[in-house]
Amino acid sequence: MDIKELREHLCATYPDLCPLFSIEFGDGVLSVDRSRFHDAAADLKSLGFDRLGMVTAVDFGDELEMVYRLQSREMRAGIFVKTRLPREEAVIETVVDLWDAADWQEREVYDMFGIVFTGHPDLRRILLTDDWVGWPLRKDYDDPTIIRRPDYL
């Protein structure tokens, strides 16, 4: 199933998600608000996206963006789901209840970006040590052990 067929299928099944769908660099992207994110994810799962391929986040300065990659074995298609979060209140609902694969992936995002997933069964650091302070992949992270690259390199 290519992207146009996916768009038609999505619009036919869930018309309210249709205006949120766009095509970026040849991939289908669904940009949803945080308030309706979990409902949209549940809708996409019932549409046939049975596999959560990846969960990550991007730091845009004043906002953080959650990026989910969903895939469907049945439709042979993939879709990105993106949600913007304010930096001061980076909280989003978990999708562990929909895809079990989100468990450790969301823990990693929490570890690196400090995004809190409400309803997550076991939200604690996964890669860094338990007593680590700060969120290393945020752009404003600073640590006394970091040696900054000089300008001439």
Binding site: D143, I146, I147
Partner: protein, 196 residues
Amino acid sequence: MAGVDDLARALERTPGGGIILTSVDAIADWARGYSLWMMPMGTACCAMELIAASFSKFDFDRHGSIPRPDPRHTDVMVVAGTITHKMAPAVKRLWEQMPDPKWCIAMGNCAVSGGIFYYDTYSVVRGVDTFLPVDVYIAGCPPRPEALQDAVLRLRDKVRAESISPARVREVEGILPLPSDPPKGEVAAESTGGGS
């Protein structure tokens, strides 16, 4: 080792004991230098070269360097790969489990200084010499097995310079001069200049 140290000191004080001491040294250093069993501390891509070194093409068994998975069986720890702040306590613990005498080879740029992770990294230890006494450094990203072979031979030279007596170091040819050592050529030039 305390009993051995006392015995070595007593031998040094005894007239004629030096003959026994040097003979024991020769045997002990020969045995140690030709059976440098490795603790393969492979944490990244350098471990591939370390594994290749012990297989038939490079065949480190002929140097007596056999990889052993148990730190209590080994003499030399080869730190091959990036050590993160989370991994460093585990490496140190394995190092402390190794019996004396023990040596350490830092293999690859990451183990030497942090390598490509030196700048702008929050998670990587800048060189294992921050918490381990490293004897031989190998540069490279990753180094060839021949470089590891050279390191084992250099380490053997270093091992053969050691004595069971604590304050004593044998002079062995093949040791590279330290930067603090006076250059041999300049010393000769000064002596001829003073004579003329």
